[in-house]
Amino acid sequence: MSTGTTTLDVVVSDVVPVNELVTRFHFRRRDGGLLPTFSGGAHVVVEMRDGDRTRLNPYSLMGSPLDTREYTISVRRDDAGRGGSLFMHRQVKPGLEMVISYPVNLFSLDLRAKKHLMLAGGIGITPFMAQTSQLAGAGGNFELHYTCRTASLGTYADVLQQRYGSRVKLYHDDRGERIDLDRLLSSQPLGTHLYVCGPAGMINWVRDRAASLGWPLETVHFEHFAAPQPGAPFDVTLAVSGKTIHVGEQQSLLEAMEAAGVDPPYLCRGGVCGQCETNVISSDGKFIHNDHWLSEEDHRSGCKIMPCVSRFEGKSLVLER
């Protein structure tokens, strides 16, 4: 992780199954000291040594920012994914020494808000665990609406209700419960900021409704780390480093570059921070842009790519790096 972020040497101090899909991991500093303070909404990038592969996945910190003796993250098992979550679930045991990045916050609270309205879907609850702790500690005004498939998959729903009572509203898909979004959005006091984290569909729905109900863009915050999608393998030439590399089916372009000894910068590894942006020198084929960083115009132009999440299908691709 040389060009990404400063790293921390940690040891896994606990692994706690939360429900059938989600497991919580606790990290402490190997030297026993305090971990760096962070702000609600921050994530860390966890380095996983999986055989000869190194995976780097971002996870939101969900503990209280006021307590830095340990960091906690929650990982949802994704059986169809590229294997990072499976590695966490299967290989990571208490006592394992790991390396994680310093916290980075790409989903921070807007501290000017008079009220924070939070919408979470599924595992998208994790950043709100820290944000609600932070706000509650400071007497902040917040309200959390949390949708999950079933009660048993309502990760931390019980904890949140116990802590915050009626400030937390739950919606279970299997009972046909749905957020009455238009009503919710229309009934907020002036100065409310909206935060949404969950599946892409939910984020798009909330952003659309907020926009059409006249919420100013700056008051709507969202976090969606697109996990890199698997896809057809392809070859890339890197002009500056003079290398030609192969991107495997289960590998992201960023990972392939790293494996080849090129160290592009990154922060989120999820297509949202802009740090890994790379110029395309020439291409013959089709880009599969999965990022949320580049504009549509950039996407159409084919002049830029975000190697952490985007792919390519075609004859040839030359990038600047």
């Binding site: 972020t5 400063t6 702000s39 909404g41 920012p65 921070s108 501290l111 400071a138």
Partner: protein, 346 residues
């Protein structure tokens, strides 16, 4: 052994001086005989012992006098220190950063004791011994930012990050080179750099903003900037232009060495942990020509740099009026021999 703090002034009788040790540690900003504007940003890591980079927050012999000067500026003009209401948390972040760094670098002068939220801060040079509750503003005589920056050298701008931009929403600015916090407060990065006339300059600002918004916790960055000031005046604010502006016409061949000062700003950029804001400390170092030329390498090099400075740059830095006098004076100290590479004196 600790630092011996000087008794000196930055106004009226201008008794400001650098001791010989401090002349040698001056952050001379030119590593070659010419100066080209560049975005010279590098990681802010600890540098050589005895340099201004020995600690990430530098405290030097001017500390006490600078803090007294700051108090005078604030008494006249309280708007030099402002913090919008949502920036209080960032103020606590900054308080922690500065207390930690000062106590770490100068244990003989500063002590920080933490007992949960109960903190005790001892600042021996200023005779302060306060116990307070971290996070509870009512336990300090000022807001957290004002409290700690009345005890820390340099100016501090705290920038809130939102909507992919940075907002100048808090600051303590009393030693600035001709800009005003009161004017910039609440502005975003593009607004406070406005007007930006050329598209290509816009590109530079967009890149700079991208760099700054990506500053990470645990990975501060820094850059050096320089200008010149007539008389060792810390406060060269637009509000006080009438006091310092006319000084530029007072430089004569006889007083160059005493009046003309090289002013170097060490700017660093830090991500603050609780608020996710960025703090931008701007530490100002002054050295008069008579002191600077005690290092022959610097004298020769400065002569060449100032002589060859492009006209627009000289105008931008406000040197036009006295540049010929200064170059003439420095030329007598330049024997034409080569200068060694690097910033340091020989």
């Amino acid at each position: 052994m600790g630092i011996t703090f000087r008794k000196e002034t930055f106004r009226d009788d201008y008794t400001f001086r650098n001791s010989p040790d401090h002349i040698r540690r001056f952050p001379f900003p030119f590593n070659e005989d010419s100066y080209m504007y560049a975005v010279n940003i590098e990681p802010h890591v600890v540098g050589p012992k005895g340099s201004v980079l020995e600690n990430l927050i530098d405290v030097d012999e001017h500390y006490v006098a600078e803090m007294q000067d700051r108090a005078l500026v604030l008494a006249e003009d309280p708007l030099r220190c402002q913090s919008l209401p949502h920036m209080t948390l960032a103020g606590w972040d900054l308080l922690e950063l500065l207390m930690e760094q000062q106590a770490l670098g100068y244990p003989e002068h500063f002590t920080l004791e933490r007992n949960g939220d109960r903190w005790r801060w001892i600042n021996r040079p200023l005779g302060i011994d306060d116990t307070f509750t971290f996070g509870d503003t009512s336990t300090l005589p000022y807001g957290p930012m004002e409290y700690i920056t009345r005890q820390s050298q340099g100016d501090f701008c705290i920038l809130d990050q939102r909507d992919g931009n940075l907002w100048m929403d808090a600051g303590m600015v009393t030693t600035q080179a001709d800009w005003s916090l009161d004017f910039d407060i609440g502005m975003n990065f593009f607004e406070w750099h406005a007007p930006v006339p050329l598209a290509h300059e816009k590109g530079i600002f967009t890149r700079a903003l991208k760099f700054l918004t990506n500053i990470q916790q645990g990975k501060p960055a820094r850059r050096l900037n320089w200008t010149m000031t007539i008389n060792p005046r810390l406060d060269t604010s637009p509000e006080n232009y009438h006091k310092w502006g006319p000084d530029r016409a007072t430089v004569t061949p006889e007083n160059v060495g005493q009046k003309v000062h090289l002013r170097v700003e060490l700017q660093s950029f830090w991500r603050l942990p609780r608020s996710n804001a960025i703090v931008f400390p701007i530490r100002c170092y002054l050295i008069k020509m008579d002191e600077l030329v005690t290092q022959p390498k610097w004298a020769r090099r400065l002569h060449r740099v100032i002589r060859d400075l492009p006209e627009e740059l000289a105008t931008y830095k406000g040197l036009t009026r006295y540049r010929p006098t200064l170059v003439e004076w420095l030329s007598k100290l330049d024997d034409g021999s080569p200068t060694s590479p690097g910033f340091g004196p020989d």
